[in-house]
Symmetry: C3
Subunit: 361 residues, 3 copies
């Protein structure tokens, strides 16, 4: 991929605010990974792990940080190389323009309100009372339930489901297959069976939230499940009813958040983390991959393990637990040595003494 004409390194340096080391007239026509790039393409080295690949890369130029030393060939040095990479990728892969209008094969209820600048794909279904804002893109086979609201410039990829009454802010991006507003999981056992508690609340997704493929976000029993501004959610994540996730949080793939949890602002939950219900997770808390979180986490704290411990403690535990079988053997040996010493000194040990010890705990 790339643009046929491309850009000169001089043009790129100017656009990206980077310092060029090399020929400003040299032209590149695309961005490619280090191992795939040819002389016509620019690549990048931001993560030092990839340095060996950079040294053997045939790329026509490299985007690097200001500090990166010892690389030959044309370099674009940036003080914010990650942001420069975003700009670079966007230059070569500008977002396709959204064709305004409703596909003749879309199904839009008569009393739904679709902004004329919105794009509605084939076989999308927009139910009664829904409101679709300016420049929204609804891809084919999306289902938008009754009274749903979608804010401007949001993008719903193919096959997304927004159930009745769900509200999305502006610039929300939902990957394929995500379900927002399914019923929460709430039952009361009445002796004969589990009776469902009606789930009559809704879901609110604020501005600039991203939601991953096949992720599920349940509607509240009453009130609202909320994902706040700027939060990014990966694929196959479960968000239970009445959960609140604060602003600018990062929820990685396959995380499960049980009902009524409140996550603060800037929380990071790595892959496959599980949260028990009704927990409060403070601003900026970090949960390591696969952690099982069973109690509240104060702001700024880091947790890891199942059950989750403070991260340093968990890492010490992980480091020491592999020695546990050996410790068991050594403890048994120590007990024998104690017996030998005690018998040598004529010390009798009573069972009572042992229980006494246990009682004192």
């Amino acid at each position: 991929m790339g643009t046929p004409a491309g850009f000169t390194l001089g043009e790129l340096a100017k656009t990206l605010g980077a310092t060029l080391e090399g020929d400003p007239g040299r032209r590149v026509t695309g961005v490619a990974p280090l191992d795939a790039a040819g002389p016509e393409q620019i690549s990048f080295l931001i993560d030092a792990r990839y340095r060996p690949a950079a040294e053997t890369s045939r790329a026509g130029a490299l985007l690097v940080s200001e500090q990166m030393s010892g690389l030959a060939g044309p370099l674009l040095r940036s003080s914010a190389p990650q942001q420069a990479l975003i700009a670079l990728l966007t230059l070569f892969h500008p977002p396709a323009p959204t064709p305004a209008g409703i596909d003749p094969l879309a199904i839009v209820a008569r009393d739904a309100r679709v902004d004329p600048s919105a794009s509605i794909g084939a076989l999308a279904v927009i139910a009664s009372g829904a409101v679709i804002g300016p420049r929204v893109r609804v891809h084919p086979l999306v289902y938008i339930g009754p009274f749903v609201e979608v804010g401007e410039e949001s993008v719903l990829h193919p096959r997304v489901v927004l159930c009745e009454g769900v509200r999305l802010g502006r610039r929300v991006v939902v990957q394929p297959g995500a379900v927002i507003g399914g019923d929460g999981f709430g039952y009361v056992f009445d002796g004969g069976g589990h009776r469902k508690i009606p789930q009559v609340g809704t879901v609110v997704i604020e501005d600039d939230v991203d939601i991953g493929a096949n992720t599920t976000i349940d509607r509240a029993m009453l009130g609202r499940t909320i994902v706040r501004r700027g939060t990014k959610i990966d694929n196959l994540v479960q968000v239970g009813h009445n959960v609140e996730i604060g602003e600018h949080s990062i929820i990685v793939a396959q995380v499960g958040i049980s009902g009524s949890c409140h996550l603060g602002r800037g929380v990071i939950a790595a892959g496959q983390v599980g949260f028990a219900d009704h927990l409060t997770i403070g601003d900026g808390a970090v949960l390591g991959a696969q952690a099982g979180v069973h109690e509240d986490v104060p702001a700024g704290e880091r947790r890891l393990g199942t059950p989750a411990l403070p991260m340093l403690q968990a890492k010490r535990l992980f480091a020491s637990q592999k020695h546990l079988p050996d410790m068991s053997r050594r403890l048994r040996a120590a007990e024998r040595r104690l017996e030998q010493l005690e018998s040598r000194l004529g010390i009798a040990r009573s069972k009572t003494g042992e229980s006494g010890t246990a009682d004192e705990r």
Copy 2:
């Protein structure tokens, strides 16, 4: 949400079988959470954790248990407050009537049998030989494969897939995106590659089962994968081929049940639990969140941890494992003290002696 006219507290007390403390003529028009309710709305306090919110709530009335003491303001006291809450929510949010008939934009095979009282949404696909019972609701974009049967009053939310031959009982509710009857995961390696074992069985879902969003239930290799009456399954759950889940079980989000497991009646599996294949899990067994179950579990037993242990044992392990790094240090210190004592008493320790100890294990 709510109904404009609403109900008086007197009417509600009568309908819910509750005792009223307050003015029977006072009128409420909706149900709302404690922190969002205004004087026109009724709220509830069942979980004592929310007591502080109840004390500051502006709600016009509260539904509470008979025991709940010390709250001012109009109260509806119930001896079964959770059931009363279900009744209350249903009063204010009666289920929308299902419009009988087949949407002109649904696609129904000529030899499919759809009861006239069923409701088939736009762009639903119903394949050859399928049978759709009375008052079933099929939402838009649902796929119902050949020879599928759906029992009366079942609800298939948007984008559900029921593959060929799957059978659903009565009042089954399937949330959006669930896939019932995909192929089981069975292969034989023949030296050149993994050859697929044809998955020619089916799936049977009995009456009153609920199935969550984007959950997957695989068809049996031969015979049937079965979910028995009254069982409730949450979102993103994986149920492998030839699994049987007994009546009135609860399977929470992101649980994975490997092939040929048999779960008994009334089993509870909390979030993210994993079951190895071919296990038998007895009636009423309880599996704690994230448990890794690798062996059979007798009826009524509780398991937690990976690998799963009896729950009390697991909790003791969890409580003690955080002290493991400290134990390691203390064991080392004890060994030094032993050496000092032994050298003081002129006891020589041989390496042979140590291995001897290890051998005795």
Copy 3:
């Protein structure tokens, strides 16, 4: 299910290359599980765990291995009973012929190229520039994005999504609801919020790969996410951007593979395993269920636990960790006994001495 005419045991023995013990003229009309089979049906006993069911089965014949001894009744003995079972199931359940052609209710872009032998179901959407090979089967409600390529004889079950530019090889089977080519999860925090790194790469699925229901495979940031030839992926699996999975690997349900991981050939990842990002997993590595893999795994190695340890070490850890609470108690008792011995011998212990011990670690 089965065919009305069925086959004689003599015919089956010949077709399956099996040795018959019993009447070659006896006729069976279907295959059924041991507990459900009647005299008109053939069943099988390959896994010795099912021997009791075989002994009480009413099946008209059994497919067994050459070694299986002590069973009465007609037997078909095979030296490769699993392959014979595949052949047997295929005989009685031949794959339905694919009706060539485009359903009049499918939506195919004018410049998409669909082979005349391909089958395109109702309400499938095939976007501009897509190429659909010979004998491909596209079920109803599938979405195939712009410039996607699907190789010959591949099968896309209902509601699969293939995003823009994704390439599938030959005989690829994708179960319902899978999403291939959703955006990878990559952001840069710039102080004000998380800015998305454009995900402009693609996904390549090679020949003979199977992909499970509601599984998600993300497109690369740049370059390609690759699943190589013959690999089988189960349901609800997450494959991150720029991941490469080698040939003939097995990825069981609910596994999560973080971005830029490279898995070798013949890797087996059991259910719910999680891989941290940027790992290299060698050929033939085996990861036990729920393992949390945080570092590279050499070829042929087996890992288990969180964090993952060599499998034997993990099993020893699992065996000993249940004794940890008891060890804690015993260590405390040993320390008391040491104190008693030391005081008896007039050995004074200083706190300094203890810290000294700790320092030596």
